[in-house]
Amino acid sequence: MELVLALAIGILGGSGVWLLMRPRTFQLIIGLSLLSYAVNLFIFSMGRFPVGAAPILEPGGKGDPASFADPLPQSLVLTAIVIGFATTALFLVVMLAARGFTGGDHVDGRPPR
């Protein structure tokens, strides 16, 4: 489980950074989105994830508090998702405006000759 999560974060993050370096705005926004997914998974993993354990209560008992996942990072992820969503939407508007002004989708307005 840890390996799967680590690979997912790594692949998402790596692809995100690669796309962030690309010259087109579309690649940029997809890169930022992938990076934010990687970061969200990373925050989530900081709360530990016990595999195969009951969320809170076990059948017929209280459950062991030591095996609970920490709920705080999960709430942090929620906040981060909401904020990330809003800023991505805003960025999209700016990109469309830039497309309208410069007539191209290069991050510097026009590709270098």
Binding site: T25, S36, V39, T87, L90, V94, A97
Partner: protein
């Protein structure tokens, strides 16, 4: 402290939030109402910040007001805390906000949608970042102020703004992701995000966890340094600030100080001298990065013909100076740096507002012509042939007023006597040369200290050269230019900011005592920690 005074700390966040939300719903035709609401909000913020500063300063050495939202104990609930530093920065923010709003009343408020609402949200984010006591809320307030700043940076639209905005937004979105990684790493290791609780737990942290915590802190630091525009993270700053509308740029001069504030607060809280093995973590990097930023800023101001970019270069120099001063890690230097922060933020804000007034009388081709003149060394002959026509021409009153304001800004930013910039730089240099105080013990100046000292003096010289050149070109050389039409409401905010700088010079004694007390309490965070963590109700 009881009754309404107890709730004063939440006012700088709640008021702009509520008023900003109402303004969004109001129609654009109601701009008079919006302006009145914005003005009332900022004046209330100014009064609240002043009251908080007086409270904080009257409270003695370890004065700190902890405001527990929902009255939960600190490690579970959200806390706001007001100490001298927060109160000071709230005050500066409110002053710059007032200046930006007044200036925008002339015509900028109607150049695009929702200026007043965005300004309120920007102020809310700034105030929140200065007040909050935990890292995640710092992130939230950073996002609030950034989201508002994206809107303000694009206010008025146009190709230059949108192109610069694209770089600015992508840079800051990436930095926000680094912020999140840093915050979550610190939480994963330490189990808390409350800054004071973190500082309390840090000395007892097992050695095996330290590298992870330090890595988290370093990643977090990179996010702050992007905001503070440390070289090589700050290339976005000059195009964005130069392209932004003047009122937005004026408030942005405070925004780059938020990164400096976060670095200052966290470095001294988490990695101060009494935090065990991690003490002094990052100081060398801050010092080196700060000095390089000063050099980069100095080269930028010398290399540009364009007034807005010149002001952007001044922001870089100011950021670099502050970061290097934090890296020096001495109480006296920090005190001087706080004085510098205040006076340079106000002067840069005034300069951004002033630039548009100066540019107003110029024809569009003038800048291109100026560059060509400089590049080909042409134009000298022509001027000589014109002879003495220029002598005896009176300078119009408006130009004289603008020139005086420009001169004051130049004096503050270059750090020349008699204005506040000189006192600030003098205090920092004094702190570097006499770590123990004048005449007490041998002066042991570190290599970093020498580098900062040289960089400070040279950057002041570079600023002076650049500002003089810009002043001559804009105010003296072009005698038959049209005199700009300047409204009273446009020159008033510039005068306000400059008068505050002059006030800081006249009242330098009390102001400096406040700054030194702030620095002293920042360098001894134990009281701070005790008050936030150890006072459950």
């Amino acid at each position: 402290m009881n009754g309404w005074q107890q709730h004063l700390a939440i006012l700088p966040i709640a008021l702009p939030l509520i008023l900003g939300a109402i303004m969004v719903a109001l129609d654009e035709h109601r701009w008079r109402l919006k302006a009145a609401m914005g003005l009332a909000s900022i004046l209330a913020m100014l009064a609240a910040a002043a009251a908080l500063a007086v409270q904080a300063h009257a409270g003695g050495a370890a004065s700190l007001q902890v405001y527990r939202l929902g009255n939960w104990p600190a490690s579970f609930g959200i806390v706001l805390m007001v100490d001298r530093l927060s109160a000071l920065l709230l005050l500066v923010t409110a002053l710059l906000g007032l200046a930006a709003l007044l200036y925008a009343l002339a015509h900028w408020q109607r150049m695009g949608a929702h200026f007043h609402a965005l300004l309120q949200f920007q102020l809310m984010g700034l105030n929140g970042a200065f007040l909050t006591g935990d890292l995640f809320n710092l992130f939230v307030f950073f996002e609030v102020l950034l989201a508002a700043s994206y809107g303000l940076a694009l206010h008025g639209s146009g190709v230059a703004r949108v192109k610069a905005g694209l770089h600015y937004i992508s840079m800051n979105l990436a930095a926000s992701l680094l912020f999140l990684i840093g915050v979550s790493m610190i939480y994963g290791v330490a189990g808390t995000l409350n800054m004071a609780d973190l500082a309390a737990r840090l000395p007892r942290m097992p050695a095996a966890d330290r590298p992870l915590l330090e890595a988290g802190a370093a990643i977090l630091g990179v996010a702050f340094l992007v905001k503070a525009a440390m070289w090589p993270l700050g290339f976005w700053l000059m195009p964005t600030y130069a392209a932004a509308s003047p009122p937005a740029a004026a408030i942005f001069s405070m925004m780059s100080k938020v990164g400096v504030y976060a670095v200052l607060r966290l470095v001294l809280l988490l990695f101060g001298p009494e935090t065990g093995e991690s003490a002094g973590f990052g100081n060398t990097w801050l010092m080196a990065g700060g000095v390089v930023t000063i050099v980069f800023g100095a080269i930028s101001v010398l290399g540009t013909q364009d007034l807005p970019r010149l002001a952007g270069g001044c922001v870089l120099i100011s950021s670099g100076t502050l970061l290097a001063a934090v890296g020096a890690g001495q109480i006296a230097v920090t005190g001087g740096a706080l004085f510098y922060l205040t006076s340079s933020a106000l002067a840069i804000g005034a300069l951004f507002l002033l630039i548009e007034l100066l540019d107003r009388g110029r024809d569009l081709g003038a800048d291109v012509l100026a560059v060509t003149l400089e590049a080909f060394g042409d134009g000298d002959d022509e001027e000589e042939q014109q002879g003495d026509d220029g002598i005896g021409v009176p300078i119009p009153m408006t130009m004289a007023a603008l020139a005086t304001c420009f001169l004051c800004c130049a004096l503050v930013l270059a750090g020349l006597p008699p204005l506040s910039g000189f006192i600030a730089k003098f205090a920092m240099l004094d702190g570097i040369l006499n770590p123990a105080g004048l005449g007490k013990g041998p002066a042991l100046v570190t290599p970093g200290g020498w580098a900062l000292l040289i960089a400070l003096i040279l950057s002041g010289f570079a600023t002076l050269l650049a500002m003089t050149r810009a002043g001559i070109r804009n105010l003296w050389a072009d005698l038959d230019r049209a005199v700009p039409r300047v409204g009273a409401v446009e020159i008033a905010p510039v005068l306000l900011l400059i008068f505050v700088c002059i006030g800081m010079t006249v009242a330098a004694g009390p102001v400096m005592r406040y700054m030194q007390a702030t620095a002293a309490s920042l360098h001894t965070p134990q009281d701070y920690v005790r008050q936030v963590v150890g006072r459950p109700r």
